[in-house]
Amino acid sequence: MHKNNNPILLKNIRVIDPSQNLDQEMNITIKNGIISYFENSEKNIPLNENDFRSINCKDKILSPGIFDLRVYLNETNNENVTILKNAAIKSGVLKMGILPFQKPLLDNPIMIEHLIEKTNFNNDKFFYPYGGATKELKGNEIAELGLMAEVGAIGFTDAPNCIQDSLVMRRVMSYAKMLEKPILQNPEDKSLAGLTASNSTTIQGEMNEGEVSTRLGLVGIPSCAEVIIVERDLRLAELTGVHYHVSNVSTKKTVEVIKRAKLNGIRITCDTSPPYFSLNELELSTYDTSFKLSPPLRNEEDRIAIQNAIFDDTIDIITSDHKPMSNDTKILPFTSASTGASGIETLLPLTLNLINKSDVSIMNILKKITLNPSKLLKVKIPKIKSNEKANFIIFDPNEQYLINKDFLQTSPTPFHGRPVQGKNYMSMMNGEIVFDNIDLL
């Protein structure tokens, strides 16, 4: 404990803060939770270095904590909140948007208030709830968007459900526009994404439609089921003027449509998550249910398009789309197994992996997990500046290792055994150290 209260001196650390367009190596001290920094030069190191917990941080990066745009909590209980919080701070995520799909649903102001109260942490807000766009997320009736906004809902979405009905979508959008909150859509045309027999039993699609689904005998979801909804929504976004945000872009066609819409000046942003720029449908060849995701993993052409869309800024945000599932729901035949995977603990390294794949700057990549989400949701993230409270993470961008599911606190991961680089070593929130492995650096 004592150690943590000592002032800290971080020597030769590379500070990257996208909100100030700052990327510079410097020496930093943190005293009583307050940052002071110095331009880098030996003489600026404080004379009384022995009073500090002094760490050589050459080649390490200090940046604002990750703002994870979309996370499923599953249930607002102490256990879930603690697990998620611990997994997050260890992994460098210091703010996150909580999706309304949980037990009970966040589709009314009382539940929003309850979640905010329950999750207030370190005198700082850590969890930012979305409100359900429609009652019970069923896509039929508008939820109490105004009342939810009043108590702190940061945006609206029915995720993982997609609002199918055009009129409902129009109404939700016009309300969200009035409240100046974004509307997030997980685009998937439900009627295209499965098989309906005449006795009106529907079989949900299980994976991307193509050669692999044909070989495996699984029900395919055509990739156009995604872009069809986006194209419709864009017309409605134009009509209503709302800030429309597409969640989990997974196909090449969707990227093309969004790119065009941006050129046409429509208020649109979008995100994707690591599975869609790291993996493709071939992973499912052994019926491994940890790859059962929504939207489904697409083909290699789509994967490359998603990756390129991150580099050319068509995709604004990278999020974990964290949806932990118990192993019991995954050790089942593919059709019966649950959909979703954990992601918050692997978000930073998988995102940093992108840096090796292009000449994209690390600043630009960090923007997509810090500044851009905060802009979308209009939630300020603290700057890294002298006399500001310490709110940041310190990570080694070069450390290489294999993701090991046994070391993760949430499950399942589709990335077990995969080589990545980049590891968080320290998280500070509101002037306090909340995760500290820095002596291992």
Binding site: T196, A197, S198, N199, E209, G210, E211, S213, T214, R215, L216, G217, L218, V219, G220, P222, T286, Y287, D328, I331, L332, P333, F334, T335, S336
Partner: protein, 320 residues
């Protein structure tokens, strides 16, 4: 009576498999497939009373999560003829409703130390899941829309015995290919053995990118069966024939039901096959189904037992 073509004069050895499981035809090579066909060919002509019961004490559980009569009886008879103990377990929906997970059921059965589980399940990939967690051998007796390996093997042997060869033939598979595990197993098996495979289905029942599996796809039955040596018909389920995948039974029959007239497009002594149970007047004209010169439907069932004997024996051998 049509002549039966025999490829082997001497009794062939026990078939060799590269795995102790038979989960799919996809991934099997020509040698494995032919060794199963040769051995089954030999069993098909043996007097059941003269078969040496080499599998005394071997325990087989027939675990069927889906109704089946012919496949279950066929496996049971095959096991018994080899001297194994065969126990049938119909896992009815109630035990699933009680909340027991599939793996719990499997582990319970496994605790009784069977040597082989023969699994039929309505979900694709379920036998693979069993094989990942259990030590005994697993034979797939049909999983969802995925595969039905022994059906494809018995189809191939039926054709070989009738036409004398498989390689170089033209064979059409016609019907609900999208939902058919029989079609998938047959596609993999026939393409592996060098058959020109033609898949015929209305566009709504044709799976995406099927041609990547090495077959030619046709929407027209007449074009598809042009000069083929064998036609494999697939069952079309009733619920798919009233405005969903097909507009009506009569429209389906008009374009895809096999009758004497359409059959003229095929090779002059082309044979007709069906995995059963068939819908007379939907996939096939009733008179054709009963035409013993053309229809091998009964022979398929006979050969089924021999194929399953060869399979059980090969799996037993691979376990050693």
């Amino acid at each position: 009576m049509n002549k039966i073509h025999k490829i082997n004069k001497k009794p062939p050895p026990i078939a060799t498999l590269n795995s102790k499981n038979l989960l799919s035809i996809e991934g099997m090579n020509k040698l494995e497939i032919n060794s199963l066909l040769d051995r089954a060919d030999y069993f098909a002509d043996l007097d059941p009373l003269k078969i040496i019961k080499t599998l005394n004490g071997y325990v087989i559980l027939n675990v069927f999560f889906e109704n089946s009569t012919r496949t279950r009886v066929s496996f049971e008879l095959a096991g018994r003829r080899l001297g194994a103990e065969v126990i049938n377990i119909s896992v009815d929906k109630s035990s699933i409703k009680k909340g027991e997970s599939l793996l719990d059921t499997a582990n319970t059965l496994s605790a009784m130390k069977p040597n082989l589980l023969i699994v039929r399940h309505p979900e694709s990939g379920a036998p693979k899941l069993f094989s990942d967690y259990l030590n005994c051998s697993i034979v797939n007796a049909g999983d969802g829309r995925h595969e039905h390996p022994t059906q494809a093997l018995l189809d191939a042997l039926t054709i070989r015995r009738r036409l004398g060869r498989i390689e170089g033939l033209k064979i059409a598979i016609c019907g609900d290919i999208l939902n058919s595990r029989v079609a998938r197993s047959n596609i993999h098996l026939l393409t592996t053995l060098g058959v020109e495979v033609r898949c015929i289905a209305p566009p709504t029942l044709m799976p995406k990118s099927l041609e990547n599996l090495g077959v030619n796809c046709f929407n027209s039955l007449k074009d598809g069966i042009n000069n083929v040596n064998a036609i494999m018909l697939l069952r079309l389920q009733n619920e798919r024939m009233s405005g969903t995948e097909s507009p009506s039974k009569r429209e389906y029959y008009r374009f895809y039901g096999l009758d004497e007239e359409k059959l003229r497009m095929a090779h002059h002594d082309a044979v007709i096959m069906h995995p059963g149970p068939m819908n007379r007047g939907v996939e096939i004209a009733s008179s054709l189904a009963d035409n013993e010169d053309r229809s091998l439907i009964k022979t398929q069932v006979e050969i089924g037992v021999a194929i399953r004997m060869a399979t059980i024996e090969a799996v037993y051998n691979a376990q050693k």
